[in-house]
Amino acid sequence: MTSRRDFLKTASAVALAAGAAHPLLTWADDAAAISVPGKEGMIVRSYRFLDLEMPVELMTEWITPVQHFYVRNHMFAPAKIDPSTWKLTIGGEVDKPFSLTLADLEKIPQHTVTNAMECAGNGRSMQSPKVPGIQWGKGAVGNGKFSGPSLKTLLEKAGVKDTGKHVMFRGLDEVPGKVPPFIRSIPIEKAIDADTLIATHMNDAPLTTHHGFPARVLTPGWAGAASCKWLTEITVLDKPAEGNFMSPGYRLPNTPVKPGEAVKPEDTHSVTGLAVKSLIAGPGDGAKLKPGKQEIKGVAWAGEADITKVEISTDGGASWNGAQLGTDHAKYAWRLWTYAWKPAKSGDYVILSRATDSQGRVQPDAAVWNPSGYLYNAYDQVKVYVQA
């Protein structure tokens, strides 16, 4: 039997003979896998620059191992940051601008927040009509334990003036061409919340480069873009930061628009807190199940709100039953859930999950379409076949 590699060689030769191949178009050696040390088994949305997604079937633990935590880089990660010379400056609308070393940061009282971080664009590939951007499936989300000083402590030391309304973050990303730098700001009210951190640790270990070493912002409950990585500058502003990643980037229409419709910039607002959402980690979509008892399981989160309920339908949405919520919980964290199911007979089933939160928000059957595909949160769905 011809091996796949031999076949590809043959196919390539045939294509060349037919004049179909262009000198730039070479058959990639697809036997050479993409290796990202410390990020094994991740879905590659982009390798250069790096965007990695967690396969949904791995969402079985309350704390997501760093190895499986999604990575969203808008630019190139800094080639090298020397922690001994790295510095964080705090300035702008403050009385006493100052700078800190990593050692200084570690001397400030530490605070830990367990946070379900999700990329604003998670689920974008499921939007219809399609929208441009990284075509995330379900897994640009993870639940991590972040530690470091509260941003509030640093702002208090600097003394924010009455004119300080927004806090801007700048990272050390390497920006190619004339691409605008990844600069965003958060309102002062969120910045002085004790749970908003300058995190140096994730899951009890120093941050890895992929997650923003040596320090990143943690804006809990908000879309990941509010949690700037490789942080080097904090500037207090009298108004929101300007630039592509504040507008038109990361904005939602003020009122729902018809799918496909353009939205005027003045009719939009910044993405802030995450939506209420659940995902089914198992069984996998397309699974063939043996008859008898099944366990349906997954995760649910709601940004700044708490999950109060996860319901499961095994009949395509005609009826719903409550799932058992996991015992591990914390403000901003995701919640594991399980549901015991015994299918009455063999055949095809559509399993749906929907979450409800403490603000009364309910995961909808269809997500609200928007031009950039942010905060997709329709019911999760898997189709399975139960064997006779």
């Binding site: 037919a18 050696d29 990202v36 088994g41 791995l58 399609k130 075509q135 069984p283």
Partner: protein, 118 residues
């Protein structure tokens, strides 16, 4: 082209499509076509082809992306703009099947949820 080579090309293309559906290659390429070289020169110094080939956009949306990227420094001769938009929208339109992303090598540390295997 002889009937045999035409047949072989068809087989090769069909099989290549099957292979790419199973797992996209490490070094994603822009598809063959008259604008391939210019598209590569315009786009691939800042990001890999995978960011392009995973999109499924209308021609109007491709035009917006082209203009945004040109503003951000993509070297595009204004005379090539429309042909590049045609090239991207012909190859990556909403009608095409979704891009199947590869995975990084190595074993996951987390236990896969029970019965998630197909």
């Amino acid at each position: 082209m002889s009937r045999l080579s035409a047949y072989l090309v068809t087989v090769a293309l069909v099989c290549a499509a099957v292979v790419s559906a199973a797992a996209a290659p490490q070094n994603e390429q822009l598809p063959a076509g008259p604008m391939q070289e210019k598209a590569a020169a315009a786009c691939l110094s800042c990001h890999e082809a995978r960011i392009i080939v995973q999109q499924r956009l209308s021609k109007a949306a491709w035009a917006r992306e082209m203009d945004k990227m040109t503003k951000w420094g993509a070297p595009v001769d204004p005379a090539d703009r429309d042909a590049l938009i045609d090239y991207f929208s012909a190859n990556f339109s909403p009608e095409q099947s979704p891009y199947v992303a590869p995975r990084t090598s190595g074993k996951p540390v987390s236990k896969t949820s029970a019965k998630a295997k197909h």
